[in-house]
Structures are given as structure tokens and as C-alpha cells.
């Protein structure tokens, strides 16, 4: 045998192996199990770096072993890539082999044999004695047609009736949808750019220069960032009976004449780029005055997370300051339920500072002075005339800027997958065969999916009707 033939044989055997039912199940179970590990083992990407480091320090051997096995970043580990590859190879091999079979199943000529001898031997075939067998078959055709079946009658006295003949294509649609989801996921992975920015009212953002909260994540392919620039015109958190109700902002995008309004859950979408608002808070202006002069001040974006303490410096007056709202904001998700969900869009408006801002003037050794500043007020920072003022408060918002392609593939994949499932499992193909044979009608039924139980009343009626037309009605 030539080498090339040997390779062909090996290849065919490999593909046959990929198609085995056991491998299909193993590949799905393997992926399910690996995703399950992602739940049980803390994942590096989901933890704050300090928390991860603390865990690593507390269980060094265990964490190192998990890291070596790739289980602390399991969703991007080689084993998950391998399992995904196996899954899709197996899927492709099975789909490829099944296409002709499935297409054949949609044809009316295909199905239970119509030869009386073969039919009589088939398990489950019923023999109903009648006087006029061809006439009885014709009657059956009428009843089945009225019940939504398509009739195929290659010769008088033999018919096949099929309902939902296209349903078998549902298998291809559903399993093919996984391919679309994979294509969408890969496209997104390659093209995704994301950045976070904290921007005050009146300030501007440019994807080329920021300001960014942390370094943006550039895409794996294509331009390093999208062409995007906007100015924040105003930020509007809305509360009702002390609880947050809405959060929105008006943004003016470069090249556009009218501002766009963004809300939590309603990002501004410009082509493949979306701008999401995710939080907001007060940004008071702090200015200091010393006997020797006054600073122009800094707008301080007050933190909302953790203990809500914000640090800043006023170098002109040699001050280091820590501030937090005098009234602590309600902590979100105290029982841990929906923490991430509720925290998105969490915002504090100017009313959060109605009771003022607690201020600590810090020195190398600790706290030098403490006080409370209300909007428009000021406090002394030392005993020789230094002062700190809070003349004005405006708002800031945090934005997430995302640019990615491939989302449409996911949408199509979702739709196709669900349609495929409905076709294959709800509207599954049902088939009835009636053949005249020596003073009787042979009746046979077949169905894919949840069995013929739903059709049982039709089938019972059919039997009676074939036996005697008076029974109908």
C-alpha cells in the first residue's frame, strides 16, 4: 500500500473515531467538567491582584500546583483549548456525515417502506381488515391531510403522510449554531478593545490619549484603539425614596452636532464601538489657601467603593488629604446576592455631600487635623492661617469604552440554535404509512423526538376511520 493510501486510511479511521457516540459525550462532559472547575477554583482574572496574592501566600503549595495545571485561569488554559478543539472536531465530523442523511429525511419519498411484505414484517405495523382496501387508504389520506400531513402516494393504495418534514434540519441548525458561536467568540477575542475612564462634567475623553482609569486593553489585531472622542456635558443620577433609580449622562461626540444620552443598559453605539456608563459620583473642587497664596484647586473624584476614602494632594500648600462623605453610602449587596448586578450603575449625586465631607489633613506621622466641609465652606488646616475650602461640587461618571466585532455572529447563532431545537424537538417529524394489502390496510407510524404520544388520538381515529368511515365524527 502506498504511503498516501495509508495516510488516507488512518485519516478515515480518525474521523470515524471523532464520530463515535462515546467521544461526543466525553467531549461535552469534559468541557462541562472544566467549566465546573472554573467555579470551584478561584480564577485569577476574577480576583483583585491583592486578593490573589494573599491567597497565594496563604496556600503556596496548593496554588502553585493549581497554577501549573492551568486551573487558576482555566477558561484560557491549554486543556480547555484542547477540549474545545476536540468538541468542534467531533461536531464537524458528525455534522458532515449526517448532512446527506438528514436532507434525505426531509423528502417525502423517504421513510418506512411501502412494500406490503416489508411493511408487514416491521415491528409495530397494524393490520386492519377492510372490505375496500384502496378506498380505505384514500379515506386515510383525506383524514391525514386535514390534520396537517403532506401526502405522498406513489401508487393507488399506498401512501406515506409526513408532518413537519423539514424538522430534521433542526439538528443541523442547532449543532451548526455552535460553529457560529465559536466564530463570533474568536472574532470578538481578536478585535476587542476595552478601556475604563473616569470623567468629570465638562471634561473630555479621547481614545488616543485618555484619560484612562487603568491602561486600556488593545485588540489582538487591527488598530490599537477606535477613533473616538467625546465630551461629558452632564451626569444625572436619579434617586427615589433614598434608592437609586436611574443613571444617565449627556455626551457630545466629536463630529456630531447634537449630544447623545447614555443610560445604564443603554450605551451609545457608534459602529462597532459602545460607550457604557457604569457609575457616578460627586467631584468637589478643593482649594487651599496659605498665608503665602492660594491654589487654583483640584477637582477630586470621590470614590464610591470599599470604605469610600479618597486621597489627594495639594502640593502648593504641602497638603495631603483624605476625604469621605460624612454620610456613608448604603453598602450594596450586603448578603452577596447580585453584588455585581446591583453595583453596576451605582451612583451618588450631590445630595451625598449634603451632610458635608469628612476631611483628614495627613502628615507623615498620621492625622494632623480633622473636620467636616460643606459645599461652599472652609476649614483651618493649621494654626498659622492655612485653610482648605470646598467652593463647588460637580459630578463625574465612570465609562467603559468597548470596541469589538463578531456580535452579529452570536445573535445569528442564538437564533438559529433555538429555532433548530424547536424544530427538532417540538415540531419533530411524524410519519404515517397506509398500504392496501390483501383485504386489509397495513398502518405504520414513526416519529422522532418525544414519540407519537401527542398524536395518539389522531392515530386512534385513523384506525377506526380506516376500518369503517361511519366511525369518524
Amino acid at each position: 500500500m502506498r504511503a498516501i493510501d495509508l495516510v488516507a486510511v488512518e485519516w478515515r479511521e480518525f474521523v470515524a473515531f471523532l464520530r463515535t457516540r462515546a467521544l461526543v459525550l466525553v467531549s461535552i462532559l469534559l468541557l462541562t467538567g472544566l467549566y465546573g472547575i472554573g467555579l470551584a477554583v478561584p480564577q485569577r482574572v476574577r480576583l483583585a491582584p491583592s486578593a490573589y496574592a494573599a491567597w497565594r501566600a496563604s496556600r503556596p503549595r496548593l496554588v502553585r500546583a493549581l497554577e501549573a495545571a492551568g486551573l487558576t485561569d482555566v477558561f484560557r488554559s491549554p486543556i480547555v483549548y484542547f477540549a474545545t478543539g476536540l468538541f468542534f472536531a467531533s461536531l464537524l465530523a458528525v455534522i458532515w456525515e449526517r448532512i446527506p442523511r438528514i436532507v434525505r429525511r426531509t423528502r417525502l419519498e423517504h421513510g418506512i417502506p411501502l412494500e406490503p411484505a416489508a411493511l408487514a414484517r416491521r415491528k409495530g405495523t397494524r393490520r386492519i381488515p377492510v372490505a375496500e382496501e384502496e378506498e380505505a387508504v384514500r379515506r386515510a389520506a383525506g383524514l391525514l391531510e386535514a390534520s396537517g400531513y403532506r401526502i405522498y402516494e406513489p401508487r393507488p393504495g399506498a401512501l406515506r403522510a409526513v408532518r413537519f418534514r423539514w424538522a430534521p434540519l433542526g439538528f443541523l441548525a442547532f449543532h451548526g449554531a455552535f460553529g457560529l458561536l465559536l466564530a463570533g467568540a474568536i472574532t470578538i477575542d481578536l478585535t476587542r478593545y476595552s478601556a475604563w475612564a473616569t470623567i468629570g462634567e465638562g471634561e473630555a475623553f479621547d481614545a488616543a490619549s485618555g484619560p484612562f482609569r487603568n491602561p486600556p486593553k488593545p485588540p489582538k489585531t487591527g488598530a490599537a484603539h477606535p477613533e473616538l472622542a467625546f465630551q461629558v456635558l452632564d451626569v444625572r443620577p436619579e434617586r427615589e425614596s433614598g434608592m437609586q433609580k436611574r443613571l444617565g449622562a449627556d455626551l457630545l461626540f466629536a463630529g456630531e452636532a447634537t449630544p447623545r444620552h447614555v443610560e445604564v443598559n443603554q450605551p451609545a453605539v457608534l459602529g462597532s464601538t459602545s460607550v457604557l456608563i457604569t457609575g457616578a459620583g460627586p467631584a468637589p473642587l478643593f482649594a487651599c489657601g496659605a498665608p503665602g497664596g492660594a491654589s487654583s484647586g483640584v477637582w477630586v473624584k470621590m470614590k464610591l467603593d470599599r470604605d469610600g476614602v479618597t486621597h489627594f494632594a495639594l502640593p502648593e500648600c504641602g497638603l495631603r488629604v483624605a476625604v469621605r462623605p460624612a454620610e456613608q453610602p448604603q453598602r450594596l449587596g450586603k448578603n452577596g446576592q447580585g453584588v455585581m448586578l446591583q453595583a453596576t450603575g451605582a451612583a451618588l449625586g450631590p445630595e451625598a455631600l449634603a451632610d458635608g465631607v469628612e476631611v483628614l489633613i495627613l502628615r507623615a506621622g498620621g492625622v494632623e487635623r480633622r473636620g467636616v466641609l460643606v459645599p461652599g465652606g472652609e476649614m483651618a488646616t493649621d494654626d498659622v492661617g492655612g485653610r482648605l475650602a470646598m467652593p463647588e461640587v460637580r459630578l463625574y461618571a465612570t465609562f467603559e469604552i468597548v470596541d469589538e466585532r463578531g456580535g452579529a455572529l452570536l445573535w445569528v447563532g442564538f437564533a438559529l440554535g433555538v429555532l433548530g431545537l424547536v424544530f427538532r424537538l417540538v415540531l419533530f417529524r411524524r410519519e404515517v404509512v397506509a398500504v392496501a394489502s390483501g383485504g386489509a390496510v397495513l398502518l405504520a407510524f414513526a416519529a422522532e423526538g418525544a414519540g407519537l404520544a401527542g398524536e395518539s388520538s389522531l392515530l386512534a381515529r385513523l384506525e377506526l376511520f380506516v376500518a369503517s368511515p361511519e366511525e369518524e365524527g
Binding site: 459525550l25 490573589y52 434608592m243 448586578l341 452570536l410 418525544a450
Partner: protein
């Protein structure tokens, strides 16, 4: 909780409890009348429960799907509703009624022991995709619950045979088919739930999928039911083996419904590094 809702929920609980007790008694004593009482009280309870949900919706201004209590109440309602939406529903009630009513009672009862207050809907929840997502989640979870309840009935009857009250359950073949149908129903609605959640996540968090524990858990549960359907359509699993799998798979759903929040807090708790307070 609004007053009208409180009254309606109380009556609902009473009716569900009567329905549960009479369904169990019907099975034990074989009295058709008790079974009928069980069905009608469940149906009346379902009506009052719908009224309670509507009352809350009217006062809060949003669908009752925003707090753990609201989810429990809507979830319990969906389970009872699905039990009645079955084809040949009276027959199904015989097999799954007692189980479904027990589940509805536990879930609704558990919900009322927590915080039942309401406020405006958080900004993150203001999305049509939330409604699609949650609606299908309830259908899916209710479908899986009815499937596992019926599977329990199947296993019980398969083990003990046509004796006593078991003789009054539908025949094994019917129970088996019902389990499969509800698994399929749950599987399809769960697929829609995951897709809708993912589309919502794109608008809310900027990414369709981020391997968040709740997402992952739902995917694992869905894949597990996919394995179960495979076992049926490709390996021909039926009867006992199928019922055992359907019965056990519900554990994943229960964790997804009640537990992920707890599991996640637990892990976050361990790994939180507190900063020393300076104020």
C-alpha cells in the same frame, strides 16, 4: 409588602398547603375526590398568587423579578402554572401535583421569610432583556423541576410496582415521556434564558460573556441537560436510568437558582484583603 399582596399571599399559601395535603392523601387513600380537591385548590391558589404578583407589580411599578423574594414568588407561581399547562393536565397533576405543590410551598414560604420590601428598580435592572431573561429562566427552572418531580414518581413506581397509591399514578411509559418532554421544554427555555442574559450583559457590562460564576453555572447546568438529551436520542436511554439523571440534574439548577450568590460571597469573603481604617 403591600397589604393586598400580603393578604393574597397568605391565602395562596393556605390553598397550596391544602392542595399539597389533599394530593398526598389522594395518592395514599386512592380517593378521586381528594385528588380533585387538590387540583381545584391549586388552581384557586394559582389565581390568587397571580393576583398577589399583579398587586405588587401595580404598587412597585415594575415586574416582580428584582429581589430574592420577588424571584421566589414568581418562581413558585411558574412551577404551579407549568403543572397545569401540561398536555392532558389533569393526568399530569396526578403524577406531579404533590411534588410541584411541595416545591411551590417551600420556595414561596422561603421567600416570605426574607426581606419582602420593595423600592424602585435598580438602574442595572432596567432593561427589556431582563424581562426576557427572567421570564425564560422561570419557565426553564419550572420545567426542570416538574421533570425531576415526575422522575421521582417514575422511580418510585418502577421500584414498588402497581401497589397501593402507586397504582394511581399514570403508567410508567407516560411518566417517562412526561419527564423527557419537560426536560426538552426546560432545555429550550434555558437556552433562550442564557442567550437573553448574554445580550443583556453586553449592554450592561460591555461583554456578552465574562465567565461570571452565575453565567458559568447556568451553562454547566444547560450542558448537563444536553448530555441527558443526547443519552436519550443517541443511546436510547429511557426509563430508570433516564429518570435518575433527570432527578439528580435538578441539583445544578437549585444551586444556580439559590446558591451561586452564597458560594460567591463565601469565596470573595475569603479573599478580601481589608485595608486598615484611617477615619
Amino acid at each position: 409588602m403591600p397589604r393586598t399582596e400580603a393578604i393574597l399571599v397568605t391565602f395562596t399559601l393556605v390553598l397550596y398547603a391544602v392542595s399539597f395535603s389533599s394530593s398526598v392523601a389522594a395518592l395514599a387513600m386512592g380517593r378521586e375526590r381528594l385528588l380533585s380537591l387538590g387540583r381545584w385548590t391549586a388552581l384557586c391558589g394559582l389565581g390568587l398568587h397571580a393576583g398577589a404578583l399583579a398587586a405588587r407589580w401595580a404598587v412597585s411599578g415594575h415586574a416582580p423579578v428584582a429581589t430574592p423574594y420577588e424571584n421566589a414568588s414568581t418562581g413558585a407561581w411558574s412551577i404551579v402554572l407549568l403543572t397545569f399547562l401540561a398536555p392532558r393536565r389533569w393526568r399530569l397533576f396526578r403524577g406531579a401535583g404533590a411534588g410541584a405543590m411541595a416545591l411551590a410551598l417551600i420556595i414561596l414560604g422561603w421567600g416570605t421569610t426574607g426581606d419582602t420590601s420593595f423600592g424602585p428598580m435598580a438602574p442595572s435592572l432596567r432593561s427589556v432583556w431582563l424581562y426576557v431573561h427572567v421570564f425564560f429562566a422561570f419557565l426553564a427552572y419550572a420545567g426542570f423541576s416538574v421533570a425531576s418531580g415526575t422522575a421521582l414518581g417514575y422511580l418510585w413506581k418502577a421500584k414498588r410496582g402497581e401497589v397501593g397509591l402507586l397504582a394511581r399514578l399514570p403508567v410508567l411509559e407516560d411518566l417517562d415521556l412526561t419527564v423527557f418532554r419537560y426536560v426538552v421544554f426546560g432545555f429550550i427555555t434555558c437556552a433562550v434564558m442564557i442567550a437573553a442574559g448574554s445580550i443583556w450583559a453586553k449592554d450592561l457590562w460591555g461583554a456578552y460573556w465574562s465567565w461570571d460564576p452565575v453565567e458559568t453555572w447556568s451553562l454547566v447546568a444547560w450542558l448537563t441537560y444536553g448530555v441527558l438529551i443526547h443519552l436519550r436520542v443517541t443511546y436510547g436511554w429511557k426509563g430508570r436510568r433516564f429518570a435518575w439523571f433527570a432527578l439528580l440534574a435538578i441539583v445544578l439548577v437549585i444551586v444556580a437558582y439559590f446558591g451561586v450568590g452564597q458560594v460567591v460571597t463565601a469565596t470573595q469573603h475569603v479573599f478580601t484583603v481589608p485595608e486598615p481604617p484611617i477615619f
